[in-house]
């Protein structure tokens, strides 16, 4: 009850809006709080400090192995927890024997590696005579006894537990107040496969999978550039999901990277499992229908977007990578646009925009015209529609809603039915239902055409999320069209337009480069210029380097031939 009153109060009474810094991506901007040094250097220092930070009190690894053992058993609820493996053994060090144990999850780790490169050296090789009888056991274990490439020393339990949770193995040795963590991930996962949802005909056919590092590597192998930075951030208080921020150091705007870092660090949830969740946690407006983040499963497309100065976020366990910031027009681009020749791209884009227009407005326009603007229809068509509607008992609004809803139904059901039945269901649904509905005089035949065109239009939209938003808004336009004809539809367009122009995706106005106007509007927004003309990165991203091509990118066309010179 008090909550309701509080909410009511919020709506009814004026209270001073809290001071919020709105992030606006400005040209050449450095983050406002760090004059002088770039945010990249700052981040570097921060990371360094973090890795050297002493563990919090109470979290330090004890030098007494029994204490460590009880602690770890406690943490992992051994023996209730059955897939955790705790193996105790002895290390012979010089002439003494030291107790030790390792702990790891069965199934998440590669036992082969543990056996051969961790346990074997520790248990067997340590017996061999030492070349160097240094007193320092810690250094001895680290440098000689663990022939594994990824070993870290941690002084706190937390890090060790984190590592074990993420497919590592922790080694505790008696007498040492540190533990060693080795990365021995070895769970089963999907290999690199063909993309399932963003299918293109020409171009690379590799998709991201669910493994973070594989995904990073997929991008890195395309962008062979040491300036490509992969920054890790753990999101989720409990799940500690590793996420990577990818950007090209000398291209991406530092303020932008800083803002993304800030948003990711500012997420306070327990579990964060997928990129789809992360998208909702970092986007600017959750209510706005269309997505403000590109979520792609194609490494090549991600690389292309990174080159233009955008930033990618990879979430471990999710085959989709988020790329920000974007504008409304980027959502109408397909990865294939880069790989096919320029005349075809323009035709395709043109068709895509028509498809978007149809998917968004066609039913609304149909309702508006048939209910308000009869004079617009050519007389022959008008009489045909009138004849076909003569026996239909519903008003055209009900008629179109009926068909739209059954269309969505077929779509959703087709997704759920297993494998090969899916398309069949679609055909049955579309053909039989449509045909029968017309025969039964429930809908008019013209309407079937409208709904079919709308459906096809919405599938031609390259971005999956955008297609959703278009479908939602379509219903709004149907109602507005039924309310006041073209006036209603125009007011609806105006409202959506106002909202879009007020919106920002990570500091970039959503409707740029048209509102606000920036340069390069005719290069790669609605139309696409030839490849050699793509000299500049999008202006609205304010990248560090404006140009990405030489002025004459086809050098061979200009200078002389070698033979001629000689």
């Amino acid at each position: 009850m008090s909550f309701i009153i509080r909410q009511l109060k919020k709506y009814l009474f004026f209270e001073e809006p809290e001071k919020r810094e709105r992030f606006i991506l400005r040209p050449g901007a450095r983050p406002a709080d760090e004059e002088g040094s770039g945010s990249f250097e700052k981040a570097k220092e921060k990371k360094k400090a973090e890795s050297e930070k002493a563990p919090e009190p109470g979290d330090e690894v004890k030098s007494d192995i029994d204490a460590n053992l009880t602690h770890m058993k406690d943490v992992y609820s051994i023996p209730v927890n059955s897939d955790i493996v705790l193996r105790e053994f002895d290390i012979t060090y010089g002439c003494r024997t030291v107790r030790a144990f390792i702990i790891f999850f069965d199934g998440m780790t590669n036992t082969e590696v543990i056996n051969n490169y961790i346990l074997k050296p520790l248990m067997v090789d340590s017996v061999m005579p030492l070349k160097d009888t240094a007193e320092n056991l810690e250094g001895y274990v680290m440098r000689q006894l663990m022939p594994h490439c990824q070993v870290n020393i941690s002084r706190g339990y937390k890090k060790a537990v984190e590592a074990v949770n993420f497919g590592g193995c922790a080694l505790f040795v008696d007498g040492l107040s540190v533990c060693f963590t080795a990365d021995v991930k070895g769970w089963d996962h999907r290999g690199v496969e063909k993309p399932n949802n963003e299918i293109i005909i020409k171009g690379p056919q590799e998709a991201f999978n669910e493994v973070l590092r594989t995904n990073c590597a997929q991008i890195r192998k395309r962008l062979k550039d040491e300036d490509l930075i992969v920054e890790d951030i753990l999101v989720g208080r409990v799940s500690r999901t590793p996420c990577s921020i990818l950007y090209i150091k000398d291209v991406a705007n530092e303020a932008l990277v800083q803002e993304i870092r800030r948003r990711l660090e500012g997420i306070s949830v327990d579990y964060m499992l997928d990129a789809g969740e992360l998208e909702q946690l970092i986007e600017d407006s959750t209510v706005y229908p269309s997505p403000q983040v590109i979520s792609t499963e194609r490494p090549d497309y991600t690389a292309e977007l990174l080159v233009s100065g955008r930033v990618a976020i990879i979430v471990d366990g999710s085959p989709n990578v988020l790329v920000v910031p974007i504008t409304a027009f980027d959502l109408m681009h397909s990865p294939e646009d880069n790989y096919i020749r320029f005349p075809y791209v323009n035709l395709l884009r043109y068709i895509r925009y028509i498809a978007g227009f149809l998917a968004l407005l066609l039913p609304g326009l149909y309702v508006a015209i048939t209910n308000y603007h009869h004079e617009m229809i050519p007389t022959d068509l008008l009489l045909a529609i009138e004849a076909s509607r003569e026996k239909v008992p519903f008003p055209s609004l009900v008629e179109i809603l009926l068909m739209e809803i059954s269309f969505e139904l077929i779509r959703e059901a087709g997704l759920r039915v297993p494998g090969p039945i899916g398309p069949t269901l679609g055909i049955i649904g579309a053909l039989i239902l449509g045909q029968a509905a017309v025969a039964a005089n429930i809908v008019s035949p013209v309407l079937i055409i409208i709904v079919a065109l709308t459906g096809i239009g919405s599938f031609a939209i390259p971005n999956y999320s955008l297609a959703y938003s278009v479908r939602i808004m379509r219903f709004g336009f149907i109602f507005l069209g039924a309310l006041a004809g073209f006036l209603g539809i125009t007011v609806g367009l105006f409202m959506i337009g106002s909202w879009s122009t007020a919106l920002k995706s990570f500091g970039v106005p959503f409707m740029s480069p048209f509102g606000p106007k920036t340069s390069g509007r005719y290069k790669n927004v609605i139309f696409r210029a030839p490849e050699w003309k793509m000299e500049e990165r999008p202006d609205y991203l304010n990248p560090k380097k404006k140009r990405k091509q030489a002025e004459y990118s086809m050098k061979w066309k200009h200078g002389k031939r070698k033979g001629e010179q000689d």
Binding site: L12, F13, F14, E15, E16
Partner: protein, 58 residues
């Protein structure tokens, strides 16, 4: 006008009035007396004008 329309009109007017008056109060508290008075005047016009249109104009 139907009952529903009346209800809508009254609801909108009441909402606008309460919110604006609360803004005036906020201004008064923040030492903007003149501004507060101005907002109150706006409030009066806001109620008077629709009332005139709805009731008193022949």
């Amino acid at each position: 006008m139907s009952v529903f329309t009346w209800a809508m009109v009254i609801l909108i007017l009441a909402y606008g009035l309460i919110r604006t008056v609360s803004y005036a109060v906020w201004n008064w508290k923040n030492n903007n007396r003149a501004g507060s008075v101005f907002i109150m005047l706006v409030c009066i016009v806001m109620i008077a004008l629709p009332a005139y249109i709805l009731f008193f104009r022949t």
